[in-house]
């Protein structure tokens, strides 16, 4: 369903993603782990047409990501690391706009929105402006929105960051079910290793833009002769702390953020 071969992304002299190859099968829950700045988000941005790879090939749902952008875009849903909902629209209007942009059949739009908003427990708040929502509620809305067009592939970039245990539980339960029922492929990143261990069929660990290892949690532990995924992870990536290496792309973003905080 997803196929990356010799994927590389350079920002000037800095190589964010360095010759990565992997394959994700249909219906698989696949975790992409790595310290800050390892290249996870850059990889997702390339898979979702937001960034062009410097070299290498990407296939998603059998489409060439670089050449068949629109078909690729129709095939996936994404929940970004940062919020991406319109605060000045209501929850329902955000969903509706998404349905229109993804060409969801008109007759099904209302019922799908109702089903998904009910599922993430926002149906009662459907006519409230999103700016009145908490961070967790916005995240739930984004998840519902990402699923609205029945994507073949769902990308979740640190989807549970800052969510309470109840919401995390709900999210993984739902995503797991969908993967099973609809044969949806899920690629996610997280810093919570227990989440990866509990939910992912296979795990890839990347660091400094390189793919270190790929396999089931059990395989990773066996390979590193450790007894928890966390120990395996630390064994592979080392214990030193990382200053996130910023890509030029992210430089202004962080500036933006600090500006917003001022």
């Amino acid at each position: 369903m997803i196929e990356a071969s010799h994927l590389t992304k350079k920002f000037g002299n800095f190589t964010a993603v360095n010759d990565i190859s992997f394959k994700v099968e249909a219906g698989e829950l696949f975790a992409l782990l790595g310290p800050n700045g390892a290249g996870k988000s850059t990889t997702i941005k390339m898979l979702t047409t937001l960034l062009k790879p410097t070299s290498g090939k990407l296939k998603l749902n059998d489409y060439d990501v670089a050449k068949q952008q629109d078909l690729t875009r129709k095939s996936f849903g994404i929940v970004f690391q940062d919020p991406s909902v319109d605060n000045d629209l209501t929850a329902y209007e955000n969903m509706q706009l998404h349905a229109v942009m993804y060409n969801v059949p008109r007759k099904e739009t209302d019922s799908r929105i109702k089903e998904l908003l009910t599922l993430v427990e926002l149906w009662d708040r459907r006519d409230h402006l999103v700016k009145t929502f908490s961070g967790g509620m916005k995240r739930r809305l984004e998840i519902a929105r990402g699923l609205l067009h029945h994507p073949k592939v769902l990308f979740l970039d640190e989807p549970t960051l800052g969510l309470d245990t109840q919401t995390r539980n709900l999210l993984w339960g739902y995503v797991g079910n969908l993967a099973k029922e609809k044969d949806m492929t899920v690629l996610f990143t997280t810093h919570y290793l227990d989440e990866a261990e509990a939910n992912a069929n296979r795990i890839a660990i990347i660091d400094h833009g390189k793919l270190l290892v790929i396999g089931t949690a059990a395989e990773l532990m066996k390979q590193t002769k450790t007894n928890t995924l966390e120990k395996a992870y630390l064994d592979l990536t080392g214990k030193e702390l990382r200053d996130e290496e910023v890509s030029p792309h992210e430089v202004w973003r962080s500036r933006q953020r600090s500006r917003n905080m001022r």
């Binding site: 937001l50 875009r73 319109d86 629209l89 209007e93 993804y102 202004w252």
Partner: protein, 248 residues
């Protein structure tokens, strides 16, 4: 079409939900009308030019539409900061549709602001010479609005922050406005100013508005229309080309 309609609708909804924006955008033109209209009115009359408020109102309407339309570019920057831009640019929708849907929405709200200023002007004593003719000015206001929202979407696609955007406003849009003949007649100005005014698309908008509302024109309505059409086409092409390369 449906996509563009919903992106248009998004702008309209956001406009009506932001009361402060409506009121705030009225403040500046109202100040201009009161301070200049009454402040310079007697001097203008003494100089034998007639009623300054009559002369000023089309210029202030153009001003309102111009700056409201420029504000649309700032909305793109906000969309980027608040993340919504990502949602639109990973969608399987052509960038041209996204750009045009939003720009037409922004232009619609800008024209509404212009009409609001028109109503205020009526309360202050402004009278168009012919109501049927005056209604034509909506076409000119729309052309200006769409040109500028297209332009500002182009600017918003590569200017990354509000500071940069404000700089373009200060160094490009304000001069274009003040050198356009919106505030003073171009009959007795120095030659350099006349030349600038004659290559300035805002001059032609203001002139077309005066033609429809006052029945007087400096450049002739045919020239005005040609200038407005060229501006519209050039700026839509500019906006569409820049917007294609937009990055979240």
């Amino acid at each position: 079409m449906r996509i563009m309609y919903y992106l248009w609708l998004r702008q309209i909804k956001r406009y009506f939900r932001s009361k402060s924006r409506i009121v705030g955008a009225i403040g500046q033109p109202l100040l201009f009308l009161l301070a200049l209209g009454y402040g310079l009115g007697s001097v203008y009359k003494a100089a034998g030019q007639g009623n300054y408020l009559q002369f000023l109102v089309p210029g202030i309407m153009a001003q309102t539409v111009l700056f409201s339309s420029m504000f649309y570019g700032a909305m793109i920057i906000f969309d980027r900061q608040f993340g919504f831009l990502k949602e639109t640019i990973v969608a399987p929708v052509s960038r041209l549709k996204i750009m045009l849907g939003g720009a037409i929405g922004g232009a619609t709200t800008a024209v509404m602001q212009g009409l609001l200023v028109f109503i205020i002007s009526l309360a202050l004593g402004f009278r168009p010479y012919n109501w049927a003719m005056a209604s034509i000015s909506i076409i000119f206001l729309s052309a200006l609005a769409l040109s500028i929202t297209a332009f500002s979407s182009g600017i918003g696609s590569f200017v990354q922050d509000m500071q940069g955007f404000q700089a373009i406003n200060q160094f490009l849009v304000f001069p274009l406005y003040f050198l356009s003949g919106a505030l003073y007649p171009l009959t007795h100005v120095p030659t350099w100013l006349k030349i600038i005014a004659e290559i300035n698309p805002i001059s032609y908008t203001v002139d077309a508005l005066r033609w429809s509302m006052l029945g007087t024109s400096r450049f002739g309505i045919i020239h005005d229309c040609i200038a407005l059409a060229i501006t519209l086409i050039v700026l839509i092409v500019f906006g569409a080309l820049r917007f294609r390369h937009i990055e979240a």
